[in-house]
């Protein structure tokens, strides 16, 4: 099968890869670019585990074809921390014990970052609505919501 050549920006760095037209961004991130932080839960756009930022908007990478990202900017959970310094969201998730098995966590972190980038002071209801597309089978959500609100407060300073 003829492969397509794609160049994009991933977490601030230029990347290029070959893909089949049918391959999703999620498959390429994990299997070609070795960025396995992004998880697959459902592969149908329902769970949010595969959330990444595409040109600063949060999307399900299982619903994006890899060739669609030609020339676009991508951010994944791997781009959140600054070296050994965790992003405030990551730190607050640990402090609030907002994860158990952790499979949903990268998606929540990326989706929460998209929210705080746009709205540094969200209400609890706004956080809950914004994260409605991220499913967690372990935590019961409350700790996640608290972690996001706490991170937002810290980031506002």
């Amino acid at each position: 099968m003829r492969k397509l050549h794609v160049t994009a920006e991933l977490n601030g760095e230029a990347v290029e890869f070959l893909c089949e037209p049918r391959q999703t961004l999620l498959e390429v991130l994990r299997d070609v670019l070795d960025h396995t932080g992004t998880k697959e839960g459902c592969a149908t756009g329902d769970c949010g585990a595969c959330s990444v930022l595409l040109d600063d908007r949060v999307v399900c990478s299982c619903l994006v074809l890899a060739p669609e990202v030609e020339g676009r900017k991508l951010q994944t959970v791997e781009g959140l921390a600054d070296g050994d310094h965790l992003h405030p969201l990551q730190r607050k998730f640990l402090e609030h014990a907002a994860l158990q098995c952790g499979i949903c966590t990268p998606g929540f972190l990326v989706a929460a970052k998209a929210l705080l980038d746009r709205n540094p002071d969200p209400s609890e209801a706004e956080v809950r609505y914004h994260l409605a597309g991220n499913l967690c089978r372990c935590t019961g959500y409350d700790k996640i919501v608290r972690a996001v609100l706490d991170a937002a407060a810290e980031m506002r300073g």
Partner: protein, 290 residues
Amino acid sequence: MRELRYTAPASLAEAVSLLSDAGQDPRILAGGTDLLIQLRAGVRDAGHLVDVKRIPELNVLEASPEDGLRVGAAVPCASLVEHAAAGELYPGLVEAAALIGSTQIQSRATLAGNLCNGSPAADTTPALLALDATCVTAGPGGSRTRHVSELLVGPGRTSLEPREILVEIRVAAPAKGAADAYQRLIPRGEMDIAVVGVGAVLQIADGRVASARIALGAVGPTALLAEEAAASLVGKAPDEAALERAGALATSAARPISDKRGSAEYRRDVVSVLTRRVLASAIERARRRA
């Protein structure tokens, strides 16, 4: 699995010509939130995906009280929801767009895709139908404009020709004292498909209803207009009794089926309640504008 071709034309002319090669079984890819799932599930097939998101004409987003609204077919719902002027002028359409799927889905899903996918339960379609929106298309024969109502044919189908591309959706500037609203019933707060959806546009002048349009979703093979219900309001004061009557009349326009989301009988009941609520919301907005 057969070979799939992917192209992302940068111009409308190129897209039309790519779609003209019927042998390739081409399909338009916009947000992909329905199409990619349908392809994977084998519900729809394609040999060639023509990604229209890089075509400038399909990325137009403008809203003004003079010229109304233009939404390019590749504009994601998130951009519409964030557009301040669009939200002010067409709060009903924007609340419908904000109800589609999750934040992630709204980053990709488009009004045009919601319309062309042809789901009877699409949220933005009743909102557009109530607003009497028009669709500008491009095809081998040139540009055409038709009303949303003319596009709706049946579940999963529209009147678009195989080589015709929806370019943009247009809505006229709101008439003086007019406002729109959309609400749906789902069994929970978020992330579900409408059991019933109702969109309405109401114009108030001198304390009476000057004009009205009511559109129902998820209670027929396509979104449909409740014309009798709308006509019953015209010339009347928009009071409780008028709304009650309109709700009851809307019920008789509905042609629901029973499925896992609700029985036909339940849906008819919901049509009446939701119609009243949506009208009340549109009236309140129209009064603020009048």
